[in-house]
Point group: D2
Chain length 430, copies 4
């Protein structure tokens, strides 16, 4: 019905934007055809140009058309599936794959052939993700685009580059724009973060040579830090990196909204840890200093007696500290959402095979830090020799590998809770 | 049966090579699992290492396993297709795509994450293509790998580079190794082909920075050549390229057996023509000097009276010349194999939108030239403004766009033939 | 006497710094000897290291020693000169040159062999120039060092590089530090100066790859500007450089105190004008927008009736404007100091062969602009075809080539002056 | 007289070439003047262009003019020297230096400002050195040019680059052209010399980025070699460089005739030894395998009884071997020419501070090897810790530092000689 109505309206009341979008859709169909194979570069260039000239309404209309008109034909699919079921031959498998792949995928592949095509597809997906909030049916388009991008941004095609003060300003400027964890207050602040006792590494893709896709900031220090302020201080003395014993990953930021859901952080941290280890043999510990973004809302819900009303200031008495640390330990090690840790940062590092090492009271006393986690932060430790085993524990046994101290704290939290924990699993001291 | 027998034999008599291949297959399954997502880089590195240590028999066994055990499950596919047929929802489409994609694809994607992964996959496909000659069932593996490689080696990811005498010797050496059309007899010969009145361009992929994937050799000359010898002469004077009026594409070579069927030639020729046009505004004509590889066998079959016995020397009388040129024109413009020109070189250039311009008697008097085409070669002309229209004619109307002279020659051939032509279409003077 | 006293004091009361300086001087003598030839790299590295560890007093003492002990021997020089006068043979000339060249030159050459040697010599000269203010006898050291640096920083060894937003931040930071004409207020201001309708070029020397030696900032605009504010506005729209008709050199800055007196500005402006002309054929005019730094002090001295007391505000009435413009024209075209124009900026551009084109009232209303030149600025025009002829006029005939309007203004100034002009030459309309 | 006659002939019978050369000489005078300062780049470009168009006779005439007309004025020199002798003031020293420096030097500096100027000056000197064989008076021109080039090609301005198979072919081709010690028979031979157990390093100057100025070839082997054949074998297996214990400098070649007398070999060998030592810590010995070019002619003259007639074949008996090795040891350690070793290769390595280690019988059985040194070669060892001490011994005490075995051999040679040795010094076992 929606379709029919749309078409009827279309013939009378389409706007100029919509007509532009439909003309582009026709060209895209052509681009994905055999003719596109021969004149692909020219047609792709034109299509990318036309897309760039669509206004917002035109782009939204194009997404609609892509979702509606470029999916596989259910009848063809069923016939091909039946044939494959009857005889799982190579020919039947090829036919099945051909009719099952939406034409959209080939369209995106061919648009990518134009200069600037990859950047355009990332911009398109950024807008598509936003449009999906209004129109969930667009998910079929996103599914195809995400599938392609995950394949194209394969780790094997990414280049790890060190970012320092000799990096072009155009790239450094992007770090300032994108940094999500600890805001960079202009070039002088950034310069301190790129001195020789700090490091910054990013993944780049050859098709976007000036765009850091994800970057990690590292401080080379004497010992695992319990406080982020000294790391961010812009006036601190620059230390000799050869003497550092601990590499702290204090910020990791993905930059491309158009790559949402395609994760490189895991590869980045491990590669950087390996490379730093080779360059600076005195480094013994690779750890993060990480926020606990979901702690306070959870604690106020699950242990209201301890955690206080959500609009009060942070509790500060010594008793309070013990209780809140215990709750943090419990939250991080025993609260799950399906097969994943409840806290999103914990989920990332534990899923990567890190060990939960230490809770740091008063580590981030900014208002954001107080509001998230009563000012606490945690260290996750990457022990490259143990990463696989830890990951196994986490994925296969739903055990969070943690230090003995955290395990003890977590056990102390049980009496404080208003209900039984969601996870039957105990954390595993590692 | 084959399968069952294989498994029975397997349990008793598997060789060490086969056991290695099966261990690797198990690891590949693991690599494609969720665990592979977290520890992917490490597992991929190991898998690539293991593959490198398999002997030929082990590799063949691995291909068997990949073909046999990693295809989609027909029952799951049928159920998903039925659900999609019943309700073409986003969720059902996602499920359909998930169960239809063979696990092999994800395996190959993850192997690619290791350093050297892309090169390894090209080597694997080279061997797979060879193994397919003995065991056509392996085509299902090739289908998946070819699909991925076509996506990864998308034009948008290729870099066009000029090759000249300042190019690293390691790359130049590869030109000597790969050149398929006109053999390069060592570095001094190559040097002449890279002087300023000659050009060489190649596509590179960022994951294989030292491997030219395809390269084209161009001579910048006064007029469309009718003879290849002056172009290849190593002692010729170097001319001023600013004065040249014609760019001759005299050789185009694909280098990677592992990329068979994934064509870049079309993009390469057009991009090079555009770039040369911008650099050297005096260039008016972009043409090839191409062989006619299938002419003589065809002529001996179709016009035995003219063409003579296959083991005789080339005919040389003036009458012969006219007759043979007519046959060549007919063969190139009116002989089809399905929707494609019969001659493979014609198929490539006509499919790209080139125009068939001129037949050159005595253009290649090497024994190979005589054996293929009585020593004739042809010029295809790339007129960038007409390429799309020519391509349309060729693809949609099965018309070969050619010069009036060739059209006339082709018509003169009809009485010489032993039978009616296969194509109802007449060539179209363009 | 000074010397003798110094030596006496030396034997009793030399400080530790002085003793370090003297040890270094001994090593420098060794470095310049035959032994230095064989072990030069090692000895040079040590000498550069020792110099780096001298404190200010030690460095001053070293300069003293270099001035005192490393000059040619007057007796040897006289003998060699007499021999050359008697017989101007090759051998006598070689001997003369050998004994005339101070050992300091060879010392500096050999220090340059160490890594970082060139940068060290520039730092040494910077300090030497400062020390010369207290002790003019050090000029003999400077003479040798300046001679060497002028030879080493020969135009043929400099590399012209465009500076833009893709330039490393470490280099951009130096532009901010060094810019002397129109202060750059941080990276955002700099970014506007590097957009595509602005250009920045610098000379670099291979031994100092991260140090711009001199840089020029250019605005690409519609017409010769009469006001610097629009050029420096950070919020202005970015224009299409292909449409610009005028390239304005609005700032040129030398960065290295250690290269004082070694001029590259002449080469830089002409090379940039040539390159821009080739890139942007629509550019018709290459002009500066320049300050008149010495105008106001001169006018207050020479035409006190017009120019007013030095501490009053700028005169603003229309009569005043005419009179002050006339004085500016007179000052720039007819006031000389020896064989050079009196105004230092005029001296630079006229010496380069530029033409004085236009006086711009109210072009720089900053307090500095008012204090220097009543807010006026001037345009010098570089017409590459006329540069040599203009230069000839200036150097050989002491004529300033200027526009007719300026010539007329200058003549109008004569009655305003308190005395007869210093120069008999009239400006030459060009 | 020669001058006067030349001028008389000049006015009547100068050839066109000579007139071109004289016009150029006039322009060079202009270039070196104040006008050249302002319009230097343009004038220099023209001068370099004119020089390029002179024929051989014109160039020879230009050299004559440069020698004759651009030397310092003896009267001015004498006056300045007298003034300096009377009062060694800074001003008098500056005046002395100004009148003593030939105008030629400034001319060469200004020609260098043109694009390609440095290369042109090297070509000019190459021809000048050849012309000097006919006309020794040209040495005054060479003296100035050599002085400048030595200053410009200062070690501090040279860049050490590794040459390998990824180096541009245009540079590799030059190695083949220039290699003087062991001829490179085409690219395949060169490729073997660039595998990972071989190394090649060269110095480059920024003004000649494609010209290796000097290059050294190194083999990484198990032990100090006594035979050059295995090193040059093109079919040998490539070894793991990490296991090598000895780096053999088996060939060192200067490429630029225009830099004759300006030595970089000393710096190159030591820098390469340092760098290899840092990269490959297992390397314990840095040694050469060097020819003894002057041995046989010397031996036939000094010990005719042993050495045989010069046109006979090489002696081969065991007695002969002992006697010839003794003569070689004597020749290398005790035969001097002034303050230098008589043998040119010994002079180079001993002057660099190497130790003479071992005589290798039958090390080079090529006809050249037999003719030079009865097929013997020697190892010089570079022990970086001892280089300075060895050099001191050689330069200050005229002692050749050598192994005990060589010392013993040298002593055994004395009875074989027809006369008393020229050197009173005994070699010093080191």
């Amino acid at each position: 019905m929606r379709d029919l109505l749309g078409r009827l309206v279309g013939s009378f009341g389409r706007t100029a934007s919509q007509r532009s979008a439909e003309r582009l859709a026709q060209r895209l169909r052509l681009l994905a055809s055999q003719r596109g194979e021969a004149s692909g570069a020219v047609l792709a260039r034109r299509a990318v140009g036309l897309y760039g000239r669509l206004d917002k309404s035109g782009r939204r209309h194009l997404f609609d058309v892509l979702a509606r008109d470029f999916s596989p034909d259910p009848k063809e699919v069923l016939d091909a599936a039946a044939a494959y079921h009857h005889d799982a031959s190579a020919a039947n498998l090829a036919r099945l794959q051909r009719v099952t792949e939406p034409l959209r995928q080939e369209i995106f592949r061919r648009m990518n052939m134009a200069p600037g095509g990859t950047a355009m597809l990332l911009a398109l997906r950024t807008e598509l993700l936003s449009a999906m909030r209004d129109d969930p049916a667009l998910v079929v388009v996103d599914h195809d685009l995400a599938h392609l991008l995950a394949s194209w941004f394969n780790r094997g095609f990414l280049e790890l580059r060190r970012i320092d003060w000799n990096t072009p300003a155009s790239i450094l400027e992007k770090l300032i724009t994108y940094e999500a964890v600890h805001e960079i207050r202009g070039f002088p602040d950034l310069k301190r973060r790129l001195e020789r006792d700090r490091r910054c590494f990013a993944f780049f893709h050859p098709a976007l040579p000036h765009e850091p896709l994800i970057f990690v900031e590292v401080a080379l220090v004497d010992e695992t830090p319990c406080d982020v302020a000294p790391i961010l201080a812009t006036q601190s003395a620059v230390e000799d990196p050869m003497r550092a014993r601990c590499a702290v990953f204090y910020s990791i930021t993905s930059t491309q909204a158009g790559l949402r859901g395609i994760s490189f952080g895991n590869f980045l941290i491990k590669q950087v840890a390996e490379d730093l280890h080779a360059e600076l043999p005195n480094l013994k510990v690779f750890a993060t200093l990480s926020p606990i973004p979901g702690l306070r809302p959870w604690a106020e819900r699950e242990a209201p007696g301890v955690a206080g009303a959500s609009d009060s200031a942070a509790p500060t008495g010594p008793h309070d500290r013990e209780a809140l640390e215990a709750l943090a330990a419990f939250y991080l090690t025993r609260e799950w959402q399906g097969s994943q840790a409840l806290d999103p940062v914990a989920r990332f590092h534990l899923g990567n095979g890190a060990r939960l090492e230490r809770i740091n009271w008063g580590a981030d006393t900014s208002s954001k830090g107080i509001a998230q986690s009563y000012g606490m932060m945690v260290n996750y430790v990457y022990d490259l020799a143990m990463v696989e085993r830890n990951h196994e524990e986490y994925v296969n046994r739903r055990h969070v590998v943690c230090s003995g101290a955290i395990d003890k704290l977590a056990r102390a939290a049980e009496p404080l809770l208003a209900r039984t924990p969601t996870s039957p699993s105990a954390p595993v001291p590692g």
